[in-house]
Amino acid sequence: MEFNAHKPIYLQICDQLYGQILSGELKADDRLLSVRELGIELGVNPNTIMRSYETMTAANIIYNKRGIGYFVSENAKNLVLNEMKNEFINAELPQVIKKMRLLEITPEEFLQYAKA
């Protein structure tokens, strides 16, 4: 995993897992790697992984079974979809629109590409 985006690492780790939930690689009630295992795999401080898991737990996307580990929630996929949609609309889309204006791409022109 490359950490390049200008986004806090703990959120990038959430995004990586969100991607796996959306693609179906991680399904409801699947167990996540432990904080330790993921920390080793990524070479990242365990506190950072812990923060990612806490963030996802607070969003009800994963849940913690004490002493066993973290699992994907029943409706994780919908929650992730909503969360990522909101983020796209609020953070990424304005950038796209800004760039479209800069490059003088009209909404009509854009639609052509979007439909393709």
Partner: protein, 274 residues
Amino acid sequence: MIEIKNLDFGYKKQPVFNNISLNFEQGNIYGLLGENGVGKTTLLKLISGLQKPTAGECLVDEVAPFNRWPETLQKIYFISEDFAIPEGTPINNIKGLAPFYPNCNIAQFKELCEEMEVNPERKFGEMSFGQQKKCLIATALALNTDYLLLDEPTNGLDIPSKTLFRQVIAKHANENRTIIISTHQVKDVENLIDPIIILNHDEVLLKATFREIAEKLYFDYGTDALPDALYSEMIPGGYVSVIRNPERFDSKISIEVLFNTVMKNKETIKQLFG
């Protein structure tokens, strides 16, 4: 816990520390940063009992390491940057150290050597600098000391070895262990170290976790430098600017940019984090 209280230290006519205080709590991987000559290595030598404070205290689990009691020294291992190359092979070297370190685990050492892709049966003298260093890192981890002090551990490691280094440190970190990594190569340990300590001549400029830093400072990556930035720096594609963060927005901390920000705003940073 390591407690440094009102410590003074200097070499002959050259003062290094004047009344510094700093604690290291169990279970963390500290990143110790500072410009050349501010005393990072000296601090590690004081903690490992190689140097004696001129005044004040340096305590490891409430005992001064300079007393050099075996009960204290068996809890501490220090890899200096200019390490002396041991005689013979790494396996014999660790077997020689084992009697002094009660938690030493030879099987684990062999595993670590395998992970780090070095041969513990080969003579140190026949290895490259990077291989010697990897053997010493494997040794240090397998001694299972509560305190592990690493001075520029990634110097001389090739690119895959730096990745391995981060992985083995993440693997062997635990709640009982305190790891202190002193380095200039912050990119090598960027996501590994937390909290960060920035030393300056005579003082600790910053000691904070990533979370605390992100709550107080916002790192803006944009096409322009922000006018009210504490510090800004050109990067490919634009600027990164560091501003105060009263609204607590989340951002990605770049340690190099943080370091430069701290060096240019010493008093502001001390107030902000004090």
